[in-house]
């Protein structure tokens, strides 16, 4: 009896007898099916290869795009930041020299690396996928084993198509019941991180199961797996099913015809056997959750929108009391303040967590026919050119523009603020991204993480608000 993780892991072990290690707990050499590359964590890896006289072993299993450091404004203008421009042109040169497919700024397939892999059909069940980015866990939504790596490991994968990994533990996260209206994937994952903490998944691969997960779209499943890393997990996984196959069928790089039938047949066995053992199981009642919002500077500092800012004195340990105090000072919040009603200056809709068409639809359904509150700057940054084109074909761009949102070009943008999309010191932001760390969206900026519907509602209300109240006013 094996878990989904066991099956994918064991199918990719090249050897466990290498590098002089003989102990049973030693690492394995795992084969990598898909290596995703972007501009920020790859330049030093390619340089390392050059210095050592090594070549890229399987360029055809490698895909590159530009996302972290790209401007999201007018793409016809030259890039003003010279250092950023050099980093982008370095990837162009490295990809060309190595024969790696690259979706550059002018490509109709450019976008956030974790958005384009799935939409092209390259992210497939049962594969091992790595990328020099912690949110690689996103791809686990398809039943892949996908995890982020550092630049030295990027170089290792380029040179060997393998990665050295110690075998992680497994944790089942079971979401019971169906979430209520106004509660979605983002709320489920924030509630989990609140429960187990930002180190709760350290050393583990999470497998998400239960009725609430089965009922989710692929986009929702990606949102959940994406933030596995915020719980400290190595990866998150969801067993593929009809929803997965329907998403992948007819994608440009998915198998076709006979190969498709064979693939679905093989993928159908990718689920944990009945009675398979996990090292730990966490159960969450999805039906009991309300919309979630973070109040602090760590994704675990989460509460329901109906709650108040907690009092550090109530934190369970001295370490947490100190963390809470520091977070409240940075966020300029006082214990006992209701979260609903906190005024926001900025709203960001986008990122690899929530930058897909269904996320934009969810937000647009709240925005339609309304106006962004006076004094609030709100922006939509689609996850990819394909997302942008699909949203425009549905008229979502008009809904956002008419309401006063900026409709921008794809990239990571204000999720990490490497480009010019950043908060000013002291600005408070309702954000659909994944990290509320100090300074993440700009030095001194204050981030509240939430779902696309909640962020859209905050833009309209000008403050944090329970999206269920906004919907009910329709």
């Amino acid at each position: 009896m094996r878990t989904l993780f066991d099956k994918v892991w064991e199918a990719h072990v090249v050897t466990t007898r290498f590098a002089g290690t003989r102990d049973a707990g030693g690492p394995a050499l795992l084969y990598v099916d898909l290596h995703l590359v972007h501009e920020v964590t790859s330049a030093q890896a390619f340089e390392g290869l050059r210095l050592a006289g090594r070549r890229v072993r399987r360029p055809e299993l490698t895909l590159a795009t530009v996302d972290h450091n790209v401007p999201t404004g007018d793409r016809r203008l030259p890039i003003a930041d010279e250092i950023a421009a050099k980093q982008l042109s370095t990837l162009v040169r490295n990809a060309r020299e190595a024969g790696i497919e690259l979706h550059d700024l002018d490509s109709p397939d450019q976008g956030i690396v974790h958005v384009i892999g799935p939409e092209l059909g390259l992210t497939q069940p049962g594969s091992v996928i790595v990328c020099g980015d912690s949110h690689t866990s996103t791809h686990g939504a398809f039943g892949a084993l996908a995890f982020g790596i550092g630049t030295s490991e990027v170089e290792h994968v380029l040179a060997t198509q393998c990665i050295v990994q110690s075998r992680p533990r497994t944790m089942e996260v079971r979401f019971l019941g169906r979430p209520r209206a106004g509660v979605g994937a983002k709320d489920l994952i924030l509630a989990l991180i609140r429960r187990i903490g930002t180190a709760g998944g350290t050393g583990s691969v999470l497998e998400y199961t239960g009725e609430a997960i089965r009922a989710l779209s692929m986009e929702g499943r990606m949102t959940i797996c994406n933030m596995s890393i915020e719980a400290g997990a190595r990866a998150g996984m969801i067993a593929p099913d009809e929803t997965t196959f329907a998403f992948l069928e007819s994608r440009p790089r998915a198998p076709k015809d006979e190969a498709w039938i064979r693939a679905v047949d093989a993928w159908s066995g990718l689920r944990s056997d009945p009675g398979a053992l996990y090292d730990r199981t966490v159960v969450i009642d999805a039906a009991a959750l309300g919309p979630q919002v973070t109040w602090g500077t760590s994704p675990g500092m989460t509460a329901e929108i109906t709650e108040r800012v907690p009092d550090p004195a109530d934190a369970p340990s001295e370490v947490e009391r100190q963390s809470y105090r520091r977070a409240l000072e940075y966020m300029d919040l006082s214990p006992g303040t209701p979260l609903a009603g906190l005024p926001v200056d900025r709203v960001f809709l986008g990122s690899c967590t929530n930058g897909r068409v269904s996320d934009l639809r969810e937000a647009a359904s709240v925005v339609r026919g309304r106006r962004v509150a006076r004094g609030v700057r709100a922006m939509v940054v689609p996850g990819s050119q394909r997302v942008k084109a699909a949203a425009e074909a549905e008229g979502l761009d008009r809904i956002f523009s008419d309401a006063g949102f900026e409709w921008r070009n794809p990239g990571c943008s204000m999720c990490l603020g490497m480009n010019e999309d950043i908060l000013a010191p002291g600005e408070r932001c309702a954000s659909t991204s994944n990290r509320n760390f100090e300074g993440r969206q700009g030095r001194g900026g204050r981030t509240h993480l939430m779902s696309p519907a909640m962020a859209a509602a905050a833009a309209i209300a000008g403050c944090l608000v329970d999206v269920r109240e906004v919907i009910s006013r329709n």
Binding site: F18, Q44, I83
Partner: protein
């Protein structure tokens, strides 16, 4: 990679939990295409005031932390982004090891790739080290020994630490992981034949 065998040096203490890699090296410094030049940017937002002067309230700017080669920190150190710029910045600042009750997985791996030793100690041992640091007005010195996997000070503190046999060997000898994996060419090629 520079090997780590045994090192004695001064300690800088950062008694905070969940220090993330965005703090260790903020994003505006990730545009460089070199592996070097990150030391001055370490903990940038905490280390400098908005006018660029060192913030005297930040722990690493304390006189007793000057010249430190060990960083002592709280649990879940290095969480968040996979940016290897974080261990590059710590190493280029002068740190040879980070001592904490726990580390985030990707950061832990990145440290080992760069000869920056992640020393995972029992929480009680870390508390004791913080106390000894606080009680030493002119600075506090430690020895970290990877051969015996122990941490000790001249006044009787000693604690064993955990590290996998594989990581320990790589660090002790400063080995090139890619070179070792390439020695598995036969196994890799056999896997490719069987699976493609």
């Amino acid at each position: 990679m520079e090997p780590f065998i045994v090192h004695t040096g001064r300690v800088a203490a950062l008694p905070r939990a969940n220090v993330d890699t965005d703090q260790i090296i903020p994003k505006q410094f990730l545009k460089r295409i070199e592996r070097t030049g990150f030391g001055p940017a370490l903990f940038f937002d905490w280390r400098y005031l908005p006018d660029g002067a060192p913030d005297p309230a930040f722990e690493l700017n304390a006189p007793k932390a000057a010249g430190a080669t060990f960083l002592l920190a709280g649990e879940n150190f290095g969480c968040g982004s996979s940016r290897e710029h974080a261990p590059w910045a710590l190493g280029q600042y002068g740190f040879r090891a980070v001592l904490a009750p726990s580390f985030a997985d990707i950061f832990h791996g990145n440290c080992c790739q760069n000869g920056l030793l992640p020393v995972t100690l029992p929480a009680k041992a870390v508390q004791e080290l913080f106390a000894r640091y606080d009680a030493a007005p002119d600075g506090y010195e430690l020895t970290v020994d990877l051969l015996t996997t122990t941490v000790r000070d001249p006044r009787g503190f000693e604690s064993a630490f955990d590290i996998s046999a594989y990581r320990r060997e790589m660090l002790l000898h400063g080995l090139d992981e890619i070179g070792r994996t390439l020695q598995q060419e036969d196994a890799i090629a056999a896997f490719e034949r069987a699976h493609r």
